[in-house]
Amino acid sequence: MVKVRFFAVLKKIVGKEEMVLNVEKGTTLEQFLKKLEGELPPLKDLLQEGKILISVNQEVVQKHCLIQNGDEIAFLPPFAGGS
C-alpha cells in the first residue's frame, strides 16, 4: 500500500486530496504513474506538461526509482511561497 497526496490546484483538478493504492514489488515510479493515469485521466495531461514535481517520502525523485510498500507519493504543482 502506498499513499498518494495531491496539493493546491491538483486537489481541485483531480478531485481528491489523498488516495491509498496497492503496488506490486518491483514497481518503478514510472510504471506506477502509468497505472495512476488510467485511474485519474486529468493527471495524464498535467504530467505531460512537465510542471508537476513528484516526491517520494518528501524527496523529489527520478522516474526510474522503485516504489515500496508504505511510501508516500506526492504531486507538487509549481511552488509559490515567499510573497
Partner: protein, 148 residues
C-alpha cells in the same frame, strides 16, 4: 541533540499565527555578540498582483517536507556565506491583505555577506519549498504559478 533540535525548530517555523519582527530580529542579535549586522527580508500580502485586485491570500504547504527544505536552506546558507545565524519563518492559511507572510533574518559580523545570504535564502525558499498560494480576486480563485 535535544537542544540542537529545539534550537532548529526555533529558527525554522511554518505557522498560522503572525510573528513579531522585533522578537525574531532580537533573537538573532542576541545569539552572538560577534554579530554586527542583521539583514532581514519581510514579505507582505499586497492588494494587487499582475493587474488583479486581491481580496484574500491563502497559503497551503506540505507538512514535514516544507520544514525540511527550510532547514536545508538555512544550513546551506550557513555553509556558503560568512554569516553567524539565520532564521526563516513562513505563515500559512489565510493571510489578510497587508499582513506579514514570510520573514528571513540573517546575522553576520559584516553586512555584505548578510545581504547576500538573505537574498539567496528568499530566492531559494521560492524555488524549492513546497508552499502554494491561492489568490482570491473578484474573478474567483487563482492558484499562483509564477514567482514574482
Amino acid at each position: 541533540m535535544q537542544s540542537q533540535k529545539s534550537q532548529l525548530s526555533e529558527r525554522i517555523r511554518i505557522q498560522v499565527e503572525d510573528f513579531s519582527v522585533e522578537e525574531e530580529t532580537l533573537k538573532i542579535r542576541n545569539s552572538s555578540k560577534r554579530i554586527g549586522g542583521i539583514v532581514t527580508f519581510l514579505g507582505t500580502a499586497r492588494d494587487f498582483s499582475k493587474g488583479r485586485d486581491i481580496h484574500k491570500i491563502d497559503f497551503e504547504f506540505y507538512p514535514g517536507m516544507a520544514e525540511k527544505r527550510l532547514a536545508e536552506i538555512r544550513e546551506q546558507a550557513l555553509k556558503d556565506y560568512d554569516i553567524i545565524e539565520v532564521s526563516i519563518i513562513h505563515r500559512v492559511g489565510e493571510i489578510p491583505i497587508g499582513e506579514n507572510i514570510v520573514l528571513i533574518v540573517v546575522g553576520a559580523e559584516h553586512r555584505k555577506d548578510a545581504f547576500k545570504a538573505c537574498s539567496w535564502c528568499i530566492d531559494e525558499l521560492k524555488r524549492i519549498t513546497p508552499i502554494w498560494k491561492k489568490e482570491t480576486t473578484p474573478q474567483g480563485e487563482v492558484w499562483v504559478e509564477e514567482h514574482p
